[in-house]
């Protein structure tokens, strides 16, 4: 893209509908996005060939660029699923949340975010977050209310909860990476492989470098003896599988077949 004259993309109702639906869902996995794209063509332009998703999205982004908006692609940190969301490029901080939450709720999110970034695992326990309730700016919040606010964050896809601990939702990472890197430049962790923000991942016990789980999976694929790319020491963690959308679909199909078999037996 360097140096080439930028061609302004053309927006049709196919693209507009795609944007509307993508926004309605907030964040979508890649196979969902592909399905959505096909649906939009079906509704507005049956005869046209469905453009390759990457080109389709680049086309849209070239039009939205002047509004500081883009469709951003990311990867979930825990299992490497590709996800897409419409994000703002020129806003500060958590301003998308600013109009949805009160001052003390936003501060609760900030506190949770700090704990998550500082943590070793990328997770902050509910207890630790709630203990900070007295330090919040704005109206005083009880712990009971704070629990409810944390659930609101989960429902709105800013946080994920696992067994009483909270980490950032993939959507939040997509939207806030810039803000996080600017606000916590010293505390922030970065993946050695992809250089993006790292919240959850594996680290080398000798030299301390970190990698996302999907980055580990790809880097050490078919390596019988995984070694740290930086210090060459043995990589001490279990290597996860590379995310394969085809395998995933087969697994879900066979699961539903088993279910229907079982029901037929009764």
């Amino acid at each position: 893209m360097q140096g080439s004259t930028r061609r302004m993309g053309v927006m049709t109702d196919v693209h507009r509908r795609f944007l509307q639906l993508l926004m309605t869902h907030g964040v979508l996995e890649e196979w969902d996005v592909q399905r959505l794209q096909k649906h939009c063509y079906k509704v507005h332009d049956r005869t046209a060939t469905v453009e390759k998703l990457e080109d389709f999205i680049n086309n849209i982004n070239s039009v939205l660029e002047s509004l500081y908006i883009e469709i951003k692609k990311g990867v979930t940190e825990d299992d490497g699923r590709p996800i897409y969301a419409l994000v703002n490029l020129a806003t500060t901080s958590i301003s998308k949340m600013a109009s949805d939450f009160a001052e003390n709720e936003l501060d609760l999110f900030r506190k949770a975010l700090e704990l998550i970034i500082d943590s070793e695992t990328g997770f902050a326990s509910s207890t630790n977050i709630l203990n900070l309730v007295d330090q919040l700016k704005g109206k005083k919040m009880r712990k009971k209310e704070a629990e409810h606010v944390l659930q609101k964050f989960v429902q709105n896809k800013w946080l994920i909860e696992k067994e009483g601990e909270f980490t950032l939702h993939g959507r939040a990472i997509l939207e806030m990476e810039q803000y996080i890197r600017e606000t916590y430049p010293d505390a922030v962790k970065v993946c050695t492989i992809c250089h993006s923000l790292l919240i959850q991942g594996q680290s080398c016990e000798t030299c301390g470098i970190r990698m996302h789980l999907p980055c580990v999976a790809k880097y050490f694929q078919s390596h019988s003896e995984p070694r740290c790319p930086h210090c060459n020491d043995y990589w001490p963690h279990e290597i996860p599988e590379v995310f394969d959308p085809e395998k995933e679909r087969e697994a879900s199909i066979s699961k539903s077949n088993k279910r229907s078999l079982r029901s037929r037996q009764h």
Binding site: N61, E65, Y68, I69, E70, L89, S93, S95, E103, K139
Partner: protein, 344 residues
């Protein structure tokens, strides 16, 4: 009491927003820097490396429409940043960015873009938009340019997203975004697209909640009339409001509409339908009402307590469901394991 608290909060908010405002300009081009640095190829701004930092003033109209004029601004951003390179030199580049003529010539463009972001966010949440919200969160000190900013933002919404910004309630300056693309010939809901949680439904659910979870029809119409929605009058968004709330939303199971027991002549009342209970909650509706009145849910302590109780019950129901599912899963796996051992 609340009033004193509110003005304190507002003053603090103003101070924070004023600080955030000056930050946002610096951050905007810093974000541009990261984009230009090439982390995600699809977001690279055009790197016109040979352009001088101060763009020539000739030829560009004072209020450039569409991407043409704004390309200059973003190109200026990327050109200062691609020279500087990395994020760490943000401080230097912010000074040169503020010196760029283009944004000075069109300072409104940033506000237009931010308003578009805000409108999209509201669309995503299926909430109506009030003028006061727009002024408070986006426009701020540019309030005398509100109409122009709004007009330009609406044009972008239409061209890029196919969304029409319509004024729903002229007295309270309440707007809604309506898709220009939704008009299917037979009017049925496509399976890909979510059923509309229109502002109308939210208001009705709110009135029902506030009336103790059951509201007489007269009460509903009293509130809707204040918003300019009348039973006998055709509404340019809702069409036939009476049909919408007494038939359409009932059929979709969002509302229940029943005759008041032993009423003669027959009177009717509304309750939440099962789908409303499933898809929203008392807390969400209370938040919606609070926002319309420019306050927070806890300002209505009586309903806030009820909403909190409702949230707790839902959480407990979720945990119970999860426990049941886990128990069933382990029972199933035990059964499978025993089958396997029998087979071998």
């Amino acid at each position: 009491m609340p009033r004193g608290q509110k003005s304190k909060l507002r003053a603090r908010e103003k101070r924070r927003q004023a600080h955030a405002e000056t930050q946002s300009l610096e951050d905007a081009q810093a974000t541009g820097a990261a984009a230009a640095a090439g982390e995600s190829p699809s977001s690279v701004y055009p790197p016109f490396e040979d352009r001088p930092q101060n763009m020539p003033a000739a030829g560009t109209p004072s209020t450039p429409e569409g991407p043409q004029g704004t390309t200059n601004a973003s190109a200026a951003v990327s050109c200062t940043n691609s020279d500087e390179g990395t994020n760490s030199q943000k401080k230097e580049s912010s000074k040169s960015f503020k010196g760029t003529e283009d944004l000075r010539r069109d300072p409104l463009h940033m506000k237009v873009a931010l308003l578009v972001h805000f409108l999209l966010h509201k669309y995503q949440k299926k909430e109506p938009i009030t003028k006061s919200e727009m002024l408070k969160f986006v426009i701020k000190k540019y309030k005398y340019h509100f109409n122009e900013i709004l007009k330009r933002a609406s044009e972008h919404m239409e061209l890029a997203f196919g969304l029409d910004l319509k004024e729903v309630d002229p007295t309270r300056h309440c707007y809604a975004l309506v898709s220009k693309l939704d008009l299917t010939s037979n009017g049925t809901m496509n399976e890909e697209e979510n059923p509309p949680k229109t502002g109308l439904l939210m208001i009705v659910l709110g009135v029902i909640f506030i009336n103790g979870n059951c509201a007489p029809e007269e009460e509903i119409w009293e509130v809707l009339n204040m918003m300019g929605v009348h039973a006998e009058r055709k509404h340019f968004i809702y069409g036939d409001p009476k049909k919408v709330i007494t038939e359409d939303l009932v059929k979709l199971k969002y509302l229940e509409y029943r005759q008041v027991a032993n009423s003669n002549p027959p009177r009717y009342e509304f309750l939440w339908g099962p789908r409303a209970h499933a898809e929203t909650s008392k807390m969400k509706i209370l938040e919606f009402l609070a926002k319309i009145h420019d306050t927070v849910p806890s300002a209505f302590p009586f309903w806030y307590e009820e909403a909190l109780r409702d949230e707790e019950e839902r959480a407990q129901a979720r945990m119970a469901a999860r426990a049941r599912a886990a128990a069933m899963a382990s029972a199933r796996s035990r059964a499978m394991a025993s089958n396997f051992s029998q087979a071998t």
